[in-house]
C-alpha cells in the first residue's frame, strides 16, 4: 500500500515536471547578426571577399559568411534584396552594367559618379577603393548596405583600412598563389597578417 502511494506521488511529481516542459517558440538569444559578403565567382573576388570577411571577424568578433554568386549582377541583386551586406564592385562595371550610364574615362571622376548615384538611388555606400584597377571593370572597392553600416558603426572605418592597400602587383601575386593551389581564405589571411591588419 505504501509502495502504491509512493508510486502515485512520484507519478504526480513527474507529471508536474513534464507539464512545466512545454514546446514553445525559441528564446530571442542570438550570437549577433552574421554578416554576408559576396564573392561573384572569380579568384579575385574570392580573395577580396575572404580578406573582408577575415578582417571583420578577426577584429570585431562578428560572424561573417562568404556567399558565392555566379556573377556581379546576381550579387548586386542579392544586395538589393538585403540578402547580402557587402559586395566587392568595380567602378566601370557598376557604371555600365548596373547603372546603365555612359562610360567616364577619368578614374577618380568615375568613382565619384558611381559612389554618388549608388548612395542617392540605391542606398548603397562605396567605401575606399582597394587600390588596384582591373582593366575595363575599373577600380575595385567594397560596397555596403547603408543599414548594415548603421548597425555596425565601426565597420566603414575598419574596411577602409584596406583602402589603397592592394596594388596591381600585389593583386596579381595573390591571384597567382590561389592558382598555385592555396585557398583564397589562406591567401587573404596571410596578406592581412603580413600587413599587420590582423
Amino acid at each position: 500500500m505504501k509502495i502504491f502511494r509512493l508510486s502515485r506521488t512520484l507519478t504526480l511529481l513527474c507529471s508536474v515536471a513534464l507539464l512545466s516542459i512545454a514546446a514553445v517558440a525559441p528564446a530571442p538569444a542570438c550570437v549577433g547578426k552574421t554578416l554576408h559578403i559576396a564573392s561573384a565567382g572569380s579568384i579575385q573576388q574570392d580573395i577580396l571577399a575572404n580578406a573582408l570577411a577575415t578582417l571583420i571577424s578577426e577584429r570585431t568578433g562578428t560572424s561573417v559568411k562568404v556567399d558565392r554568386f555566379a556573377d556581379a549582377r546576381a550579387a548586386h541583386d542579392a544586395l538589393g534584396k538585403a540578402d547580402l551586406d557587402i559586395v566587392v564592385a568595380y567602378t566601370g562595371q557598376a557604371r555600365n552594367e548596373i547603372l546603365k550610364k555612359p562610360a567616364i574615362a577619368e578614374s577618380a571622376a568615375l568613382y565619384e559618379a558611381v559612389r554618388d548615384e549608388y548612395n542617392q538611388d540605391l542606398n548603397l555606400v562605396w567605401l575606399a577603393p582597394f587600390g588596384f584597377s582591373d582593366g575595363k571593370l575599373g577600380q575595385a572597392a567594397p560596397v555596403a548596405r547603408k543599414d548594415t553600416l548603421k548597425k555596425f558603426p565601426a565597420l566603414a572605418r575598419l574596411i577602409n583600412k584596406l583602402g589603397n592597400a592592394i596594388t596591381d602587383g600585389t593583386m596579381a601575386k595573390l591571384e597567382a598563389q590561389v592558382k598555385g593551389g592555396k585557398t583564397a581564405a589562406e591567401v587573404a589571411r596571410a596578406f592581412l597578417k603580413e600587413s599587420k591588419l590582423i
Binding site: 512545454a22 577584429r59 570585431t60 568578433g61 560572424s63
Partner: protein, 288 residues
C-alpha cells in the same frame, strides 16, 4: 536436503537478475524548443534539437555524468548550429572530477559551432563546475549576472568562455583548441580569471571592446597559436595582465604574442607586468 520449491525460487531469482542485466539502457530525453518554468533535473543522456529556455522562475539541475548532446540544425544557414540552452533562472551544472557533465555535438563527425551555446542571461544563479563544453559556437556565454565557472574544460569551440557585464570567477579550467580561449567585453563588469590553462587556442584572450581593466587575469598559463592577447577594433583603453606565464620569459617574445597599440595606433596597450619565468603547475581537471 534442498526442497524443489526452494530450487524453483532460486532459479526464478537467477532469471530475474539476468533479465535486469540484459535490460536496455534508459532512452535519452529528447527535446525540441522547450521552456522550463519549474524545478527540473536532468541525468543520463539528453538530446537537444532546439532552444531550451530556463525561465526566471525555473531551475535546471544537471547531475554528474550527464551527457547533453546538441543536434546540428542550421535553419538560417549562418554556419552556426541553432541548438542551445538559454538560462534566465537557475542553472546548477556541477559534475565531479570522476563524472563531469558533457555538453557536446551529437554529430558523428563533430566540428566547432555544431551547436550555439550555453547562454546565461540575467540568470538568477549559475554554477558550473566539472563540465566539458565542446564543438559549440561558445562553450558558455555569460551576460548580466554573477557566475562561477570552475574546474571545467572548454575545447574545440569558436569561443571557449565568453562574457560581458558580469561579476565572474573563472578558475582552474582547461581552455584549449578554441578560436578564442576567453572572449570578453567588460562593460563595467569585473572578474577574476586565475589558475587556468588557456593554451593552444588561436587567440588566448580576445578583449573585444569597452574594457576598463577591471577584470584581473593572474596566475594563468597563456600560450596560444597566434596571439596570447588581442584587442578588438574598439578597445582604445589599456589592459593589464599581471603575473602570468606567456610561453616565454623574454619581454620581446611576449610582446610578439600581443595584438595592440603596436599594430594599430587606435588601440590601447596590453601590459604584462611580472611575467612568470616558467609554466605554473596547475591543479586542473584530468583530460577526458
Amino acid at each position: 536436503m534442498v526442497s524443489g520449491r526452494k530450487l524453483a525460487l532460486f532459479g526464478a531469482l537467477l532469471l530475474l537478475t539476468g533479465a535486469c542485466r540484459l535490460a536496455p539502457p534508459p532512452r535519452p530525453l529528447e527535446l525540441g524548443d522547450t521552456v522550463i518554468s519549474a524545478a527540473v533535473t536532468w541525468s543520463g543522456e539528453v538530446r537537444i534539437r532546439g532552444t531550451v529556455t530556463v525561465k526566471k522562475e525555473g531551475s535546471l539541475t544537471i547531475l554528474p555524468g550527464s551527457r547533453i548532446l546538441f543536434e546540428r540544425v542550421d535553419k538560417d544557414g549562418d554556419n552556426i548550429g541553432d541548438a542551445e540552452i538559454y538560462v534566465e533562472g537557475t542553472l546548477l551544472a556541477q559534475g565531479t572530477a570522476q563524472e563531469p557533465i558533457l555538453f557536446s555535438s551529437a554529430a558523428a563527425t563533430p566540428q566547432a559551432a555544431d551547436w550555439k551555446f550555453l547562454y546565461l542571461d540575467y540568470a538568477r544563479r549559475a554554477e558550473l563546475a566539472h563540465i566539458i563544453a565542446e564543438y559549440a559556437y561558445s562553450g558558455v556565454q555569460i551576460h548580466f549576472c554573477k557566475a562561477a565557472v570552475v574546474d571545467s574544460e572548454f575545447r574545440y569551440n569558436v569561443d571557449g568562455v565568453r562574457f560581458s557585464t558580469v561579476n565572474i570567477e573563472v578558475a582552474r579550467n582547461r581552455i584549449h583548441h578554441n578560436t578564442h580561449g576567453i572572449r570578453y567585453e567588460e562593460r563595467r563588469g569585473a572578474g577574476s580569471v586565475h589558475h587556468n590553462a588557456i593554451v593552444d587556442n588561436e587567440i588566448g584572450i580576445f578583449v573585444v571592446t569597452r574594457s576598463d581593466d577591471r577584470t584581473l587575469f593572474r596566475d594563468n598559463n597563456i600560450v596560444s597559436r597566434q596571439y596570447n592577447v588581442k584587442l578588438g577594433l574598439d578597445q582604445p583603453g589599456d589592459v593589464t595582465f599581471p603575473h602570468n606565464w606567456w610561453g616565454t620569459s623574454e619581454a620581446a617574445a611576449i610582446r610578439a604574442t600581443l595584438y595592440d597599440h603596436d599594430a594599430d595606433a587606435a588601440l590601447g596597450k596590453v601590459r604584462t607586468p611580472d611575467p612568470l619565468p616558467a609554466s605554473l603547475a596547475l591543479v586542473l581537471p584530468a583530460e577526458k
